[in-house]
Structure formats: C-alpha cells, structure tokens
C-alpha cells in the first residue's frame, strides 16, 4: 500500500473531486433550486475540504516546477498543516468576527473582479466596480471545520502507521 507523492496529486483525489463537484453543484444549482439550511451548510463542508487541498497543491506545484525544490515529505506535511489551519481561520473568523467578514467579502469580491471585468469587456459593457460578495455570518457554519481533517488525510504524504508496518525493507 503506497501513497502518491506527485505534487498536486491530492487535487485529483476522489475525495477532493467529490467535494469540488459538491461545492459547484450546491452553489450554482441546489441553492437556487431548493434553498434551505442544508444547502447553506453543504458548501461550507465541501469548501473546508477543497480550500486547504487546493492551496497546498498550488504550493507543492510551485515548489516543484517554479522553485525547482520539491517538498520532501516532512515539509509537504508541514505546509499542509499550515494550509488546513489557514483554511480554518478563513472559514471561521468571518462567521464570528465582523471585521473578518468584511475582509472576506471585499477580498473575495476583489478576487472575482478580474473575471467580472473580463466578462464585461467581452460583452461590450462598462467595467464593473469592485464590490463585496454577499455573506451571512452563521456560527453554526463552524460545524464544517472538522472537514479540514479530511483534507489533511487526503493531502498528507507521510504514510499512515499501518502503511509503515507493511512497507518492505529496502
């Protein structure tokens, strides 16, 4: 039993792809077709899986292909831990602290702006202003945080204890 160590491989892990599909489906279909408390939560659960895996994969790929210094297992897992922690903060703080919610709303709005501007240019419309995204603080969204552990399990590169036991000697 082995684990893939190719940089960015966790991004195409079935768990990540499932979370990604769930995130997109929920945000763009389910929330409109059958809005409810569970569609409000579903994206949070999926997002807490996708975000750390995605940021970690980007770091892995940058290290391997840009800086030409691929992460070793220990460094990769440290960065993964940091990515999970950062994702927890990114998800949790806006739910409980208004300034963080404002940062989230304006930050994501600013990140979306280039794409909205491109769409406006392509459709011959005036450039849109940078606008905050819509967000509703809800402490119960913190229930999604444990999904970060799933992200860690998907992204970690060190073998689990069982894997170590069955690994044959060199």
């Amino acid at each position: 039993m082995t684990r893939s160590q190719a940089p960015g491989a966790a991004l195409v892990h079935p768990v990540t792809l499932t979370a990604l599909f769930t995130l997109a489906l929920n945000d763009h279909v389910l929330k409109r077709v059958c809005p409810g408390w569970w569609t409000g939560k579903l994206s949070d659960f999926a997002g807490v899986v996708v975000l750390p895996v995605f940021t970690h994969a980007m770091l892995e790929l940058a290290a391997a292909r840009i800086w030409k210094k691929p992460f070793d297992v220990a460094t990769g897992d440290r960065w993964l831990t940091a990515c999970v922690a950062a994702s927890w903060l990114a998800f949790a703080l806006p739910e409980v602290w208004y300034p963080a919610e404002l940062w989230f709303r304006y930050g994501l709005g600013a990140a979306q702006w280039p794409f909205r501007a491109l769409a406006a240019v392509l459709s011959d419309q005036a450039l849109p202003k940078v606008r905050p995204v819509h967000a509703t603080a809800d402490v119960t969204d913190l229930l999604a945080l444990p999904m970060g552990l799933l992200a860690f399990a998907v992204g970690r590169r060190a073998p689990r204890p069982l894997e170590r036991r069955v690994t044959p000697a060199a």
């Binding site: 082995t2 684990r3 893939s4 160590q5 190719a6 940089p7 960015g8 491989a9 991004l11 195409v12 990540t16 792809l17 990604l20 995130l23 997109a24 945000d27 763009h28 994206s43 997002g47 996708v50 975000l51 995605f54 994969a57 980007m58 790929l61 070793d72 297992v73 220990a74 460094t75 990769g76 897992d77 440290r78 709303r105 994501l108 709005g109 990140a111 979306q112 794409f115 909205r116 606008r131 905050p132 995204v133 819509h134 967000a135 590169r157 060190a158 073998p159 170590r164 690994t167 044959p168 000697a169 060199a170």
Partner: protein, 222 residues
C-alpha cells in the same frame, strides 16, 4: 510531547525515504490543469457579488373599463354595481401586481322626462369596499372619484391559489327617491391601477409600465 508533535514530519520522512515502492505517480498534466481551473472557479464563485439594489416601480393600469349603465326611475331609484378583480397570475419578472391598487370611477349623469315643474335630482354615488373603506359624493351631472381597493388571498401565488381577489361596489341612488319621475341615467367607466415596488440588483432606481395587469375584471349587479 510538544517536540514530538512538531517533529512528526521528520520522523515520517525517514520512514518514507526507506520505502522504495512509494509510488510517485504524477497525474496527467491536463487533468491537473483542469482540476486547478475548476477549483479556482469553484472557490472564487462560491459567493455572488452583493450587487447594489435599488427600487424598481412596476405600474399596472387598465383604463376605460366599461361599468355599464343604470336607469334610475320612480320604481327603481337606486342601484348597486359590484366590481370583482381577480389576479390570474404574477406579472412579468414574477412580481405581484396587486399592491397599492385603486380604482378611479368616472360617471356621467343624464336626466330625461322629469315630471312637469321638477328639477333634475341630485344623485348619491357611493364607492365602497368589503374592508369598509368608502367615499360618498352627491352629484348632478358628473362623478369622478378614486377609491383604494384591497386584494386579499394568496397574492404571492395567485395562479396556484386562485384566491387573490379584490372587490368594490358602486352604489347610486336618486336623492328624490324617484319622486320627480323621469329617468336618471348613470353611465360609468373606471380605471384600475396598482403600483408595486421591488428591490432589484441595479445601478439606479427604475420604473416599468404602466402595463396591463394580469387581472380578470367583472362587473355585476346583485
């Protein structure tokens, strides 16, 4: 314990390094690129931009609806018309069309064949709704009066519920109770309007209409 937790990676690194069969299977570049693009799009698009919202005023109007006429005589010095308005559906853009509704009644009074020496009688015209609102005027030749009307029932889903309706009554009566003889004819028409304010994602306040409301209007005499 603390040091052990911080060093977990290093320990595992040594174990992994000694494992020759650890697969290093790079996913195909196209798959990785697709996953990156999809992840970026999904994460960026997880929340819609909070577009500014401004009021849009929808005005609905149906003008010159024929109310019919009545001839008030010695035998029938008074009459009442009942107007029923039934909202059949939501209007365009899915907005309800039944807020701030009112009717403007316009009537013409003509008198003929009065008894010798009698003068044309005044006519009481009363507008009223089942909710109790109403106005009354006394006129000799022409009547013009607005009356708020109120839709009741499930007007958010009028098509499904079939229950969104409003009513108003127009009651006319000769003040002379017909004693002057002859015929007092009351011809009337009415306009109905409504105004609905909806907040929409927009750069400025706007208005739509007047457009014909999706209503069925009936006039009857009990």
């Amino acid at each position: 314990m603390k040091a052990g937790w911080l060093q977990f990676g290093r320990k595992r690194a040594s174990v992994t390094a000694a494992s020759p069969d650890n697969a290093v299977t790079a996913p195909p570049a196209w798959l990785l690129a697709t996953a990156i693009v999809c992840s970026t799009a999904a994460l960026l698009g997880t929340s819609d931009v909070d577009e500014p919202r401004y009021p849009r005023t929808y005005t609905f109007a149906r003008s010159g609806v024929d109310g019919g006429f009545v001839e008030l005589t010695r035998d029938q010095p008074a009459a009442t018309f009942i107007v029923s308005l039934h909202a059949d559906d939501l209007a365009a853009d899915g907005v309800p069309s039944t807020d701030e509704a009112s009717a403007l009644v316009d009537g013409t009074i003509t008198t003929t064949g009065l008894d010798e020496g009698k003068v044309a009688p005044y006519v009481d015209v009363q507008l009223s709704t089942p909710e109790g609102a109403g106005t009354q005027k006394v006129e000799l030749e022409h009547f013009n009066q607005a009356q708020p009307i109120y839709f009741t029932g499930d007007c958010e889903n009028p098509k499904a519920s079939g229950s969104c309706t409003a009513h108003f009554a127009v009651a006319v009566s000769r003040q002379d109770q017909g004693e002057s003889g002859g015929v007092v004819r009351f011809d009337w028409t009415f306009d109905v309007t409504s105004k609905v304010l909806v907040d929409v994602a927009s750069q400025e306040a706007s208005s739509v209409g007047p457009v014909d409301p999706p209503w069925t209007i009936e006039v009857s005499q009990p």
